[in-house]
């Protein structure tokens, strides 16, 4: 289907199904039950899942395929956000032109930064991108918000004000980002018995973008171009002496991933018309690195899993405070309960980053292929136990496994 082979088609259909049905899947618990705190089916969080999914898919095209570790991709996300908000301010609240301009501007910006950064490789490349991103952050945060030339509105963040021109803004249109009249905030709540499900325009716009982005990523992975990118990662010496110029390949990957970041940034602005400089800070760049590695760099589905995993647990963990913990462990004897709560408490609530950091270290140390590799290992383990005879065939299959799977 659509020029994908059987396996990719299956994967693609699964991703489509998951994103379309997300409002159901993410709300498995009745609204008033104690478990409702584990629901993730509300618009804000679902939007974050897919937006960061896009960001990570794009980052993976660079890092997963070419092996260039950029520590500055948040800069492109920020550029996308600023561009989109400026489109809202100057022209119209319609999200389509905003997103298109966000992608184009982020692409141009990443072309510039990539052109310079890719003159070096390895750790120098990482540090150059880091330096560029930090510089962009400083520029956005203070330099470009002086009264004479206020491009970013500094600390407050760029937003749409009543006296902005918005020259194409029609009278009947919502006074918020919209898709040809459908407000991005539009939300239909459906109730089935004790369950509530949210269907949000903003989410579905983002979801369609992610499905598109994922499709393009599959095509890139399976194209000769994708093969060349993996060749860049594998052996640049051989590549050069095979008559291939690796730099434009890496640059193309860099720009593509920059455009993905721009798309993510544009969508962020589309669901919430505000752009702040902190989106460009290097911790934000670090986050997308975490997502990609955690999910499985170089795999198709890994970045989406990683983004979903991190955003979900960030949300859930941050909500758990000591009162919640005490209620969970109230079945234990008093003293023991306090001990258990005291042991767990540093890792939840505000301590989520601690858990994330440890998890990330564990993944890098023991599971370099991320969640995808973990899943494969578990799958192979159960498979082998069920059918010991088939293990030879399985090993062959493992050997033949395409590294881009």
């Amino acid at each position: 289907m659509l020029g994908l082979n059987k396996k990719d088609t299956a994967l693609f259909l699964i991703v489509i199904a998951l994103t379309i049905l997300a409002p159901f899947i993410l709300n498995p618990f009745p609204t008033n039950s104690a478990m409702a705190q584990f629901n993730a089916g509300y618009p804000d969080l679902m939007q974050r899942f897919v937006i960061f999914g896009i960001f990570a898919i794009g980052f993976n095209i660079l890092f997963g395929l070419t092996g260039y570790l950029s520590f500055g991709h948040a800069a492109f996300l920020g550029v996308g956000s600023y561009a989109a908000v400026w489109m809202f301010k100057l022209f119209t609240y319609n999200v389509i032109p905003a997103i298109v301009v966000a992608v184009i501007l982020a692409g141009l910006f990443s072309l510039l930064i990539g052109y310079i950064s890719l003159r070096r490789s390895g750790i120098y490349f990482s540090i150059l991108t880091l330096a560029f991103a930090q510089m962009s952050f400083a520029l956005a945060y203070s330099v470009l918000s002086n009264p004479k030339f206020n491009l970013t509105n500094g600390e407050t963040g760029l937003q749409v004000y009543g006296d902005d021109p918005q020259i194409f803004h029609g009278a009947g249109l919502p006074n918020l980002p919209h898709l040809f009249g459908w407000s991005m905030r539009g939300n239909n709540q459906m109730s089935f018995g004790a369950w509530d499900f949210n269907f949000n325009t903003g989410y579905y716009v983002c979801a369609v973008c992610m499905i598109l982005a994922f499709y393009i990523a599959i095509r890139i992975f399976r194209s000769p171009f994708g093969m060349m990118l993996r060749a860049v990662k594998s052996n640049q010496t051989r590549m050069t002496y095979t008559g291939l110029n690796s730099r434009p390949y890496a640059l193309a990957a860099f720009v593509i991933s920059g455009m993905y970041a721009g798309l993510a940034g544009g969508l962020m602005a589309a669901v919430d018309p505000l752009a702040g400089a902190e989106r460009m800070q290097w911790t934000a760049s670090g986050e997308v690195v975490l997502m990609t590695i955690l999910g499985g760099a170089g795999t198709l589905i890994g970045p989406i899993l990683g983004a979903g995993f991190i955003k979900y647990f960030e949300n859930i963990f941050s909500k758990i405070n000591d009162a919640v913990l005490h209620s969970w462990f109230s079945f234990l004897p008093d003293g023991l309960e306090d001990v258990v709560v005291a042991l767990i408490y540093p890792f939840v609530g505000k301590g989520w980053h601690l858990t994330l950091g440890m998890l990330f270290m564990l993944v890098v140390i023991f599971l370099p292929g991320g969640l995808v590799e973990g899943g494969q290992r578990i799958g192979r383990f159960t498979f082998r136990r069920r059918d010991a005879k088939g293990s030879d065939a399985e090993r062959d299959a493992a050997n033949q496994r395409n590294p881009a799977e």
Binding site: M135, L139, V143
Partner: protein, 343 residues
């Protein structure tokens, strides 16, 4: 003229911190071949050693003074630090006043220990992994260390003053024949610079004049050969890592009176220190020190009103700008050697 000198002096303290962190980064990179993204966290832990020592020295026992009453008419509760009880009020007060210098003694063994544990427990397993993996795992470690500190000490900066004796400023200008008040420089910053110079000198002397240092330098020049000579490079690596950690930690301890420490100071300094290392030249110790001071001073010049009115915000981006220019024109950095981290 005096303005120029003042800016140079202002750049020295930050430059010292950059130089000390960059020195450790380069030492680790040059000897162990590991890119340590957790080095900023070591700087931060050093700073929190000072905080801890200060807190310990100010631990107080509460006694009730029956002879006096508070405004409610109850007997007055008096907080007396233990040190004052043990050593008498005057010596005790002096001890808690001198908490930062005392923390130096306290932090050296702690930082060495942390360095040893880090190297043996984690870094050792990453010698043969790609640099990207080293960056990633130390990045994760940096997050963990930072969050642990945040858990115990909170998110707000903690003021940690210098001893009373160094609280004031020195009118340096008068000594060199300038007008009074033209060049005023806080004592503690002067001390920080001297301290940094001493440590840098110490590290260089250690590398230059001891057998251990000779092996380490040989290892930096050609790791494989030294390994082949049958020298136990492993233990030296561990010790080297400990020393680098201690240097970063001491830089942190002494920096506390200049800037109250907070949990993310390590990351802030780390990014800049990496830039410093790259500008100085990966694997070059003098390069790291030189670039550290150079960039510190440059930053200070860029922060003058003249500079910021000419180019708004130049103080925020100058270091990155310089780094980008240096990397593109002199890919090996100012004093980088051939063959280190080349493609």
């Amino acid at each position: 003229m005096d303005a120029i000198i003042l800016q140079i002096l202002n750049g020295l303290d930050k430059g010292s911190a950059y130089a000390l962190i960059a020195l450790g980064l380069t030492l680790i990179f040059g000897t162990l071949g590991v890119v340590n993204f957790a080095h900023g966290a070591l700087f931060m832990i050093g700073a929190f050693c000072a905080v801890t020592v200060q807190r310990i020295l100010n631990l107080s026992v509460t006694t009730v003074d029956e002879s006096r009453t508070d405004f409610l008419g109850n007997p007055l509760k008096v907080q007396t630090p233990y040190v004052e009880n043990w050593f008498g009020p005057e010596i005790g007060a002096a001890i808690s006043d001198w908490s930062v210098p005392i923390a130096i003694l306290f932090s050296i063994p702690i930082m060495l220990l942390i360095g040893f544990i880090m190297e043996r427990g984690l870094i050792k397993h990453f010698y043969r992994r790609p640099h990207a993996d080293q960056i990633l795992v130390t990045f994760g470690l940096a997050i963990v260390l930072q969050e642990v500190i945040k858990y115990f000490y909170g998110a707000n900066p903690i003021p940690t003053p210098a001893p009373e004796a160094f609280a004031g400023s020195l009118d340096l200008g008068v000594m060199f024949g300038f007008d009074p008040n033209a060049i005023i420089y806080p004592y503690w910053r002067l001390i920080y610079f001297v301290f940094a110079a001493l440590i840098i000198g110490g590290v260089f002397a250690f590398l230059q004049f001891t057998t251990f240092g000779m092996v380490v330098r040989a290892g930096m020049a050609d790791r494989e050969t030294v390994g082949l000579l049958g020298i136990n490079i492993d233990r030296r690596f561990t010790i080297m890592f400990g020393i680098a950690a201690a240097v970063a930690g001491l830089a942190g301890v002494m920096y506390t009176p200049i800037n109250p420490p907070n949990y993310h100071m390590g990351m802030d300094f780390l990014v800049l220190s990496f830039v410093v290392v790259v500008v100085g030249g990966m694997g070059s110790l003098p390069g790291a020190v030189l670039a550290g001071f150079l960039l510190g001073i440059l930053e200070s010049f860029a922060s003058t009103t003249w500079a910021t009115t000419t180019i708004p915000g130049i103080n925020q981006i100058i270091i990155y700008l310089v780094a980008i220019i240096v990397l593109l024109t002199r890919p090996r950095g100012l004093m980088g050697r051939k063959g280190v981290m080349e493609d």
